[in-house]
C-alpha cells in the first residue's frame, strides 16, 4: 500500500466527530475535519480527500448542499461521499441517494459496518 488514504469528515457535533475520527485514524487513514458544510466544501478542494463522510444536518450548508457543491465542482466531483444522518425515514434516505450520495448511514451507527462501507468505497473502481 502506498500513502494512507485521506478522508474528510464534515460533522458539527464534536462528540460524534471525535468518535468517527478516532475510528478512522485507528485503521490508519489520514483524517481532515470540517465543522460545517461551508468549510467542508473549501477543505474538500484544498485537501482532495479520497472520501468524504458528511453529516446531513450542519450549519450554513447541510449535507445535501455540500453534496451538490461537490458534484458540481469539476475538480472533486468524483469523490465518493457517505451521508451520516439521524434521520431514518425512507424519504430522507431515498433523497440522499437521489442527490448523489454513495452511501447513507443512519446514526447511531455500527462502527464495524461503517468501516466496511468506507473500505468498499475506497477500493479502486472496477466498473
Amino acid at each position: 500500500m502506498g500513502v494512507a488514504k485521506r478522508i474528510l469528515v464534515a460533522e458539527d457535533d464534536p462528540v460524534t466527530c471525535r468518535f468517527v475520527v478516532s475510528l478512522l485514524e485507528d485503521k490508519g487513514y489520514e483524517v481532515v475535519v470540517a465543522e460545517d458544510g461551508e468549510r467542508a466544501a473549501s477543505v474538500a478542494v484544498d485537501a482532495r480527500p479520497d472520501l468524504i463522510v458528511s453529516d446531513l444536518v450542519m450549519p450554513y450548508r447541510d449535507g445535501f448542499e455540500l453534496l451538490r457543491a461537490i458534484r458540481n465542482d469539476e475538480r472533486i466531483k468524483r469523490t465518493p461521499l457517505i451521508l451520516l444522518s439521524m434521520r431514518d425515514r425512507e424519504e430522507d434516505i431515498v433523497r440522499g441517494f437521489e442527490q448523489g450520495a454513495d452511501d447513507y448511514v443512519v446514526k447511531p451507527f455500527n462502527a464495524r459496518e461503517f468501516l466496511a462501507r468506507v473500505r468498499k468505497l475506497l477500493e479502486p473502481r472496477s466498473r
Binding site: 462528540v15 460524534t16 471525535r18 468518535f19 478516532s22 475510528l23 485507528d26 446514526k107 447511531p108 451507527f109 455500527n110 462502527a111 464495524r112 459496518e113
Partner: protein, 409 residues
C-alpha cells in the same frame, strides 16, 4: 416608619451584594472546573475510544490499572457520550466498561434515591449502559410517583429490550392520564417486531385510546405479519379504529391491503374514506384510480384533498385520470384536479406543448381550455405573461379570456 425603611433598604442591599457575589463566584468556579475537565478529557477520551475500537477484555489496563477518583466523572461522561452514538460491538464494549468501572452499580443504587432527578438520571443511564441487570429495578421505577422517572425507566426498558418491558408499556397505553401515549407508542415501535404479536394478542383488552395507539404502532413497525389482521380491522364497529387501521396499512404499504382499502373508500364515516384514499395513494394501486376519481366528488374536503393527492402520486395513470377529471361536472373535483396538475408541474409541461403541432398541441390546448373553464387560471396568466417561448405566450393570450375580474375590483 423611617427606621422600617432604613431596615428594608439594608436588607435589600445585603441580598443584592450577596446575589452578585454568588453569581460571580459561581461563574468563576464553573469556568475553572470546566477547564480542568476539558484538559482531562483530552487525555482520557483517546484511551476510552482506543478500548472501544480494540479487542482488550478490560478497559482497566489502558487506564493504568485503576481509575483515579478524580477522573471518575470525566470517564463517565465520555462513556455516556459515546455509548448513545454507536451501535453493535462498540456499544456493547462501552456498556461493559460502564459496568466494569462500577457505574452501573451506582445507577442501580441511584434508582432508590429520594431525589427525583437522581432517579430519573439513573434510569436514563441504565438504558444507555444497556445492562440487563437493570431490568428488575427499572420495572419498579415504572411505578415511580414522578412522571419524569417513569418515562426514563420506560425508555431504558425499551432500549434494553426483552419481553419484560412490553406488558407494562402496553398497560401504560391505556392510562393517558399517567403517561404520554405518544411517547410510549414511540418506545414500543422502536422495539420493533417482537411487539407486534403481543399488541395483536392484547388488542381486545385495550381501551379505545390504547387501541388507536396500538394501530399507529403497527403501522410504524412495518410488520407484514400484521397486514391481514389490520385488513380485518377495516370492518371494526368503531370508526376511529377503522380510520387508524387504514392509515397503518398505508404506512406499511403493501398491495395485499388494496382490496380492503378500496372497500373502505365507501365507508359511511368520512375520516375512514380520507385515510383510505391517502393509503391507496401510498400503495400505488392502479385498480383504485376510478374509485379515487369518484372520491374527488366527496362531500368532505379532506377526502377530496387526499384522493387528489393519491392520484398525483399514482404515476402516469393517475395523472391521466386527473386530466380526465378537468371537465367533470363537479366543481370541487375539477378544482382539486387543477391544483394537483399544477403542483406536479404537468400544467407547465402541457403549456409548453402549445408550441408544438398536431395531436400533441390539440391535446394541450384542450387541457388549457379546461383550466380556463374551471376558473383556475392563476398559473396560466403568470405563464402568459412570462413564458420564454413567444409562441406559447401568444397561444395562451388567445385562450385566456379578458381579465374582467381585475377591472371589477
Amino acid at each position: 416608619m423611617h427606621r422600617l425603611l432604613i431596615a428594608s433598604i439594608l436588607v435589600v442591599a445585603l441580598v443584592f451584594v450577596a446575589l452578585t457575589l454568588v453569581i460571580v463566584t459561581a461563574k468563576a468556579w464553573r469556568e475553572i472546573r470546566e477547564r480542568v475537565r476539558r484538559a482531562k478529557r483530552r487525555v482520557l477520551e483517546p484511551i476510552v475510544l482506543g478500548y472501544a475500537h480494540g479487542n482488550a477484555a478490560s478497559i482497566l489496563p489502558a487506564l493504568g490499572g485503576r481509575l483515579a477518583t478524580a477522573d471518575r466523572g470525566v470517564v463517565e461522561e465520555i462513556l455516556l457520550d459515546h455509548v448513545q452514538r454507536v451501535r453493535g460491538i462498540e456499544r456493547e464494549r462501552l456498556g461493559k466498561a460502564l459496568d466494569e468501572l462500577g457505574y452501573v452499580d451506582r445507577y442501580l443504587a441511584g434508582l432508590k434515591s429520594p431525589r427525583w432527578w437522581k432517579r430519573a438520571e439513573s434510569a436514563e443511564n441504565l438504558g444507555l449502559a444497556g445492562s440487563s441487570r437493570a431490568t428488575a429495578g427499572l420495572l419498579v421505577a415504572l411505578e415511580d410517583p414522578s412522571y419524569e422517572v417513569r418515562l426514563r425507566a420506560a425508555k431504558a426498558l425499551g432500549a434494553i429490550g426483552g419481553r419484560a418491558a412490553v406488558a407494562p408499556l402496553l398497560r401504560a397505553l391505556s392510562e393517558p392520564n399517567r403517561w404520554s401515549t405518544i411517547r410510549i407508542a414511540d418506545l414500543l415501535s422502536q422495539m420493533g417486531r417482537p411487539v407486534v404479536d403481543e399488541l395483536i394478542a392484547a388488542f381486545p383488552t385495550l381501551n379505545l385510546h390504547a387501541k388507536l395507539a396500538a394501530l399507529d404502532i403497527l403501522g410504524r413497525v412495518h410488520s407484514l405479519d400484521a397486514v391481514p389482521w389490520l385488513n380485518a380491522r377495516l370492518a371494526d364497529g368503531d370508526a376511529d379504529v377503522r380510520s387508524r387501521s387504514a392509515a397503518a396499512l398505508g404506512a406499511i404499504g403493501v398491495v395485499d391491503s388494496a382490496p380492503a382499502l378500496r372497500q373502505a373508500l365507501g365507508d359511511p364515516a368520512w375520516p375512514v374514506r380520507a385515510m383510505a384514499a391517502k393509503s391507496l395513494g401510498k400503495i400505488h394501486d392502479a385498480e383504485a384510480i376510478p374509485l379515487l376519481c369518484a372520491a374527488l366528488r366527496d362531500r368532505e374536503w379532506w377526502v377530496r384533498a387526499n384522493a387528489a393527492e393519491a392520484l398525483k402520486l399514482a404515476g402516469p395513470m393517475g395523472i391521466e385520470a386527473l386530466e380526465g377529471m378537468l371537465d367533470d361536472a363537479d366543481l370541487y373535483a375539477k378544482h382539486q384536479a387543477c391544483l394537483m396538475l399544477e403542483e406536479s408541474g404537468i400544467l407547465d409541461r402541457r403549456v409548453a406543448q402549445l408550441a408544438s403541432s398536431g395531436a400533441v398541441r390539440d391535446a394541450a390546448e384542450s387541457i388549457v381550455r379546461s383550466f380556463v373553464q374551471a376558473g383556475q387560471d392563476g398559473r396560466l396568466r403568470e405563464l402568459a405573461a412570462g413564458h420564454a417561448e413567444p409562441k406559447v405566450r401568444k397561444a395562451l393570450a388567445r385562450l385566456l379570456p379578458e381579465q374582467a375580474e381585475e377591472a371589477a375590483r
